[in-house]
Amino acid sequence: MLIMALVFCIALLGLSLTQTHLLSVLLCLEMMMVALYLGLGLMSLSGLNYSLMVALVLLTFSACEASSGLALLVLISRSHGSDLLKSFNLS
């Protein structure tokens, strides 16, 4: 469980400190979801009677979120020409 927390943090870092592509942001987001899912799953192994239903819900929601993220990516790359982070200027 602690290891999953570590993975979560690594993915968070990878998301925030990404340099070039927006796709790597989405990938790191997925990695965060995976870490959370695995953490939830491993929690049941520590001897507590814990329901595993929430893990399934989490997984579903992460899939939806990934697809909406990809849709956003497509829209962005249509309007800005690419998915390079340095071309996303607010002004």
């Binding site: 968070l12 998301l15 925030s16 400190l17 340099q19 340095k86 996303f88 002004s91």
Partner: protein, 597 residues
Amino acid sequence: MVGMCGMLSLTSLLLMIVYLFSKSKSDIAQAIKYSGYLNSILLLLLLMNDESEMLFLKWEWVKLGGYSLTVSFRYDIYTCCFFVVALYVTWNILMFSFYYMASDPRVELFCKYLGLFLVAMLLLVSAESLFQLLIGWEGVGIMSYLLISWWYARSDANTAALQAIFYNRVGDIGLIVMLVWSLVNIYDWTFTSLYALSLVNIFFLGGVVLAATGKSAQLGLHPWLPAAMEGPTPVSSLLHSSTMVVAGVFLLIRFSSLIQLDSLIQMVVFLLGTMTTLFSAICALAQNDMKKVVAFSTASQLGLMVTAVGAGVPQLAFLHICMHAFFKAMLFMCSGGYIHGLQNEQDVRKMGGFMNAAPVTTVCLFIGSAALMGTPYLAGFFSKDPIIEAINVSNMNSWAIGLVLLATSFTAAYSFRLLYMASGSTSRMLVLQPMNEDYGNLVGPLQRLCYGSIIAGVGFVYFFSPLQANILSLPITLKLSALFVTVVGALIAWNVMKLLHEGGEVNLNYLSFEAQVGFYSIIMHKVMPKAWMNLGEGYQMQVLDRGWTELVLPQGLGENYKLLADNVNQAQTSLIKMYIAIMMLVMFVVGLLVVNF
């Protein structure tokens, strides 16, 4: 009798002031001539009456609480003799200035200035109150400025006049210290109460010495006197040889009884006079401008007068003032005659052979130089020789005595050099010069002053019994020392001139110690102000104001802020990338904090 004498003198002074407002220059000359007659009658009456001094407190002017300012005159033997001499010399100089300034459109104003100067000088010598002395002192200073810069379109003349004002002003500090001290300590400014003091402060006497140094061009404050030769020759002969520059010595003579109370100040006065004498005599040997040679000669004689005061014989110093006035004014007038005859050429290297071209002037130059050297029984002998005898038998510094004797020999040397180069030897002037001395206004004054130079010595000594006992027993070497060194100086000068100036060659070295007046002018007027300005501008302005202060406060802080701003700017680009990073980082940090607390 006493009152009548005073009335006579004041009448003459008032008459002169009235006539100064007239437009005609001959009126001014007549006024001065008759004032001269009146005042010499005054002197005769004084003699007959055998009174040594009289006071004439005239008019209460301003009341200041316990003390009141008065216009008060003091006529003692010094004042009366000086009145006679000064008026005689001034009358002659006025007549000479009719000749010299004949082509000047403002000659009436010139005569008026000379008259005004005379009034200020007479106020100075007849002052009983130090305040009146200050009025006369400042008056002569101002007239000196106006007269030196007579040809005011010439920048050298303006510089010289300003120089005179500056150096006199430094001396005036001494005079004001005197006034302040006497007001604070004895609540009175009159000479009678000052002479009654038995213990005098060093500030007061230091003020006297400083005032004399400034006005009489002693060693520390001397450069203005040679520079004052920028003025016309009548100005040089009246102010800067006979009358104004002796005001400082006159002050010393007035306070000589107080100076003798303090041995340190007496020693200072003695040494100051000695060094001035020698220094000026050295510089006179190397000058090429005729008027500057005579100016340095004046400075040397002033040093001798101050030395006499320091040696304890102020009456002899006063006698020398009177004698010196005659022959020095005549020397300046001879220079003026030569200069006019050569179309304003003052350099002795371009003169020569005037013995035949201008005989009267040359003869007067010779007699004046002989009197200056102390030739027996001419005017200078009766004052200069006793001074040197008195110095020889005094218990002062013997090195200083040696310097005075050396200066005396140099007097003979530079006089001889002047005579040789200006009137002897070969003629180096340009041909076809309008050298003409057939003017009554040139020859008349020269003649009169010539008679004065020859007879005045005998006359004064015959009519006035000395107030202080003469030294009557001296060894032969000391008694004849002045004569001996004079003869030696003249002989050496004759030989040197013969050797060096055989075919009319001249010495062109102008960078030597003597020719640059000991480098004093350069150091005080250029090197030292430049050093101070470098310290001020170079250090203060450039290093501090434009350097460190700028760097530390405005510019330096700006640089620091720029660095900080550069770093902060990075977070404020409008790129999404940065905002994602910041958001995630903040969440991470907040999450850590929440977990820990």
